[in-house]
Symmetry: C2
């Protein structure tokens, strides 16, 4: 089993034959550190799986950037509203390190259900899982302090803390880099 198939298996309940078929639609793609996987306003006509590297999803506002999410090895990446509903992308997606991806283009994405009968149901479950995760994230803003949100992210995503400038992590948590610095210092004592 290839590495991609191995990862697909961890997300989706497919047999070996379906795994092979699904994996065959994905092609290698490389994004150099600092380059863009996607830019705001463009059509996001692809869905990718991150093999190595790290991507930052963010929006340019008038006076600052807001980081919506940071995605690393083992995660999928796309702008769902653009891919599925053919809207212009809301996000910029930039590589924070050299990044290797497996990418399926929209044409193949749209016909994968013709080859794998369970595809739509399986994808539905996957998106539902993403939805539930986002519900938890909304809840964290309603119910937690900055320090609690920081701790939860740190416990669940230690890997990004070594690789990503603090300012981006702070933005994604809805706080400033100074606040993270102070939380860290407080927790040393």
């Amino acid at each position: 089993m290839t590495e991609l198939e191995h990862y697909l298996q961890s997300y989706f309940d497919f047999d070996q034959s379906d795994l092979t078929t699904v994996a065959s639609f994905f092609k290698p793609e490389f994004v150099k550190k600092g380059d863009y996987y996607l830019k705001t306003g463009k059509s996001c006509n692809k869905l990718s799986f991150i093999q190595t590297g790290i991507l930052r999803v963010y929006v340019n506002l008038e006076d600052r950037e807001v980081t919506q999410w940071i995605s690393s090895k083992g995660y999928f990446i796309t702008d769902l509203s653009s891919l599925i509903f053919s809207k212009p992308s809301r996000w910029n997606i930039q590589a924070l390190a050299d990044t290797t991806l497996y990418t399926i283009d929209k044409a193949d994405y749209d016909r994968i259900g013709d080859f794998i009968p369970k595809w739509h149901e399986t994808e539905k479950l996957f998106i539902a899982h993403c939805f539930v995760t986002l519900e938890e994230r909304v809840f964290s803003f309603l119910s937690m302090t900055a320090e609690q949100r920081y701790n939860v992210l740190f416990e669940n995503s230690r890997e990004i803390f070594n690789q990503v400038p603090l300012q981006y992590i702070a933005s994604m948590l809805g706080m400033t880099p100074e606040t993270i610095s102070r939380i860290r210092r407080k927790q040393l004592i």
Copy 2:
């Protein structure tokens, strides 16, 4: 076309025959003001469509309640993680007014795809749409002040402001009722 079919049509791309089939799975349900549609920890074995009334989705914390969402006429309601992944419900869902629903139980929900070939794909699109809406909501916490979040909700959901105690709306926006009061006064001047 029944009222339910009419609403289903507004969300889903089904022909009349499919609409009739889907609608036939939903049965009327009534929840009296103050009563619960769902309680934390129980299994949510149903999905409902709100015909009239209003429901509050919330969590009991040690020292307070946090309102995650308020759902009214024309919206679907369930705890997705419980319905789809058979987890215990995270939310309490309580009627803030007498509420009439059309409800499909989990047994029927699980077999609806056997009758409507496009069901899984259609439901996938619907859940994807919900996901995109939640992404926007997360973004509002990352990028907006309390006043901006209040204004956006007010523009988009005027109907709930007449019917729902301010404290619940405030909680769902991640602020206190006093803050909403002050925002309102400021905007009068």
